[in-house]
Amino acid sequence: MTTYLASRLLQMVPSLFLLTVVLFALMRLGGDPVMHLAHPEASPEEIAEIRAAYGFDRPLPEQYLKQLRMMLRGDFGESFRFRSPALPLVLEKLPATMELAAVSMLVALLIAIPAGLLSAIFQNSPLDLGVTTTSTLGRAMPNFWIGIMLILLFAVHLGWLPVSGRLETTSIILPALTLGTSVATSLARILRSSMLEVIRQEYMTTAKAKGLHQWAVVLGHGLRNALIPFITVFGLQMAWLLGGSVIVEEVFAWPGMGRLLLNSVKVRDLSVVMAGVCMFALVVMGTNLLVDFLYTALDPRIRYSSS
């Protein structure tokens, strides 16, 4: 297991390395970095001086290596908006984003597992039709619009919940519902189809023939096997959910990484943008690693070797 963990962590290295290459290329595409540093009326001599001082006159590969060394130390440069190092600014917002992501996932699971399970067991019933129709509709609705509609109903119209912010404990309900429901639609769909496949397996009949209670068969033998494709999609959806959190954080003024990233993009605070993008990518890669380990816990047939 330890060797597998080590090899998986090693596999992340090329991806992360390429990410830094892509980010470096993007930054250079955005224009001459010296022009951002020099004041507008700088003379050509002054510009040349700045270029030499920051090493922008060196060949590109050399500049890239310098930047890579800095990034590895966690140094993404200074935010010109906050006049402080970029990475701590991003890390400060990480807990709020993770909190929202975790609660949203919980909401998604609480909706998707019963919905997917029941619609598979009662296939072609009105309940099944309801679940499949809702999940198709959910696929077609932009999640930020669902958020706006939830605000309209629960905050403006009924006045039960706060409109936005993160001041009260109830503040998380609406953003988590927004993100959770949009993920729940695809999770319910995948659970339904994998459950339908599992139901037809022979071990299900055997379990029934043994005289097990119907629910013991469905939960103990059915759900556990159906969860494997479900977990795969769950991992993919985690990336999607983190992306969606940017827009949901904006709709609900949730003070997380996504909102910081968005506002930094609008004023072109590039060091914060780069630090934020790297952080999001790291969180997604970390989640995928976690999902891999969930497989072994669920299915003893899946064993990892280091080869």
Partner: protein, 307 residues
Amino acid sequence: MTASGPQVLGTESTVPEPRKYRYRWLWRLRHSPTGMLGAVIVVGVVLVVLLGTAIAPHDPELIDLKQRLVPPVWAEGGSVGHVLGTDQLGRDVLSRIILGTRVSLLVGIAGVALAMLTGVFLGVTTGFWGGWWDGLVSRFLDTFLSIPFIILALAVIGVLGVKGGNNMLRLILVLGLANWVIFTRVVRGEVLAVKERDYVEAARAIGQRSWMIMLRYILPNVTASIIVLGALQISTVIIAEASLSFLGLGVQPPTITWGIMLADGRDHLATSWWLATFPGIAITITVLGFILWGDWLRDVLDPRLRE
């Protein structure tokens, strides 16, 4: 079997056969209510785009401050002149939704076309040649997969800047850049299977150049998957365009888009519910149309793509 014309597998006995082969897709469409609904919506949306100003009851940009925030016709204080009400500047909401269809569809189709061209090129060449080229592109693929779409879009837009330049073109570029991955993955997988076929072997044996083999023998055999994927991706890209425009990073006013209308509507949520409601419904219906149509195309052309 006395009926004329070719048979559809599995339907021999129960369903009467279509009279002519070339109308078979129409016959199949009639037997799929959801596919039919999707096709009707897609045709309707295209008609709305083509007719545009001709069917809009008002000039969508006409500001009439005496008619500000008029509610829809059925609500109290509504007027027959503005069926879906007016916005904060007295502009007709229905007319703006009709004109907003243009940007959504244009950006959706152009974004998918760009992603398709890039993705198919990379998918065919990596699948056919393999080797270092395949390895390199696959690493990039992994990296892109670990960055959620909206984060990637934020990074690119952050570097290119929000203001200035042709923002429609920039948006299409960003959407293309974010969506090539899925085309490459699917096409590469298909090519790996197709290139083992005998006719490819035969083409090689008679000394065809590899470019010719790819164009004449491989590409036509993966077209079905490409079309299906393209149809389904349009729905994703339309939502992405609305999201970015909503965040203020996509198309900029005065161009009318559903995303911008929703952003305006959010600011008047407490007083004017209709401003944020109707553009969202327009997005949902349009996206639903492409999803249902795409699902149907998949079932007809390429059932293997089914989840």
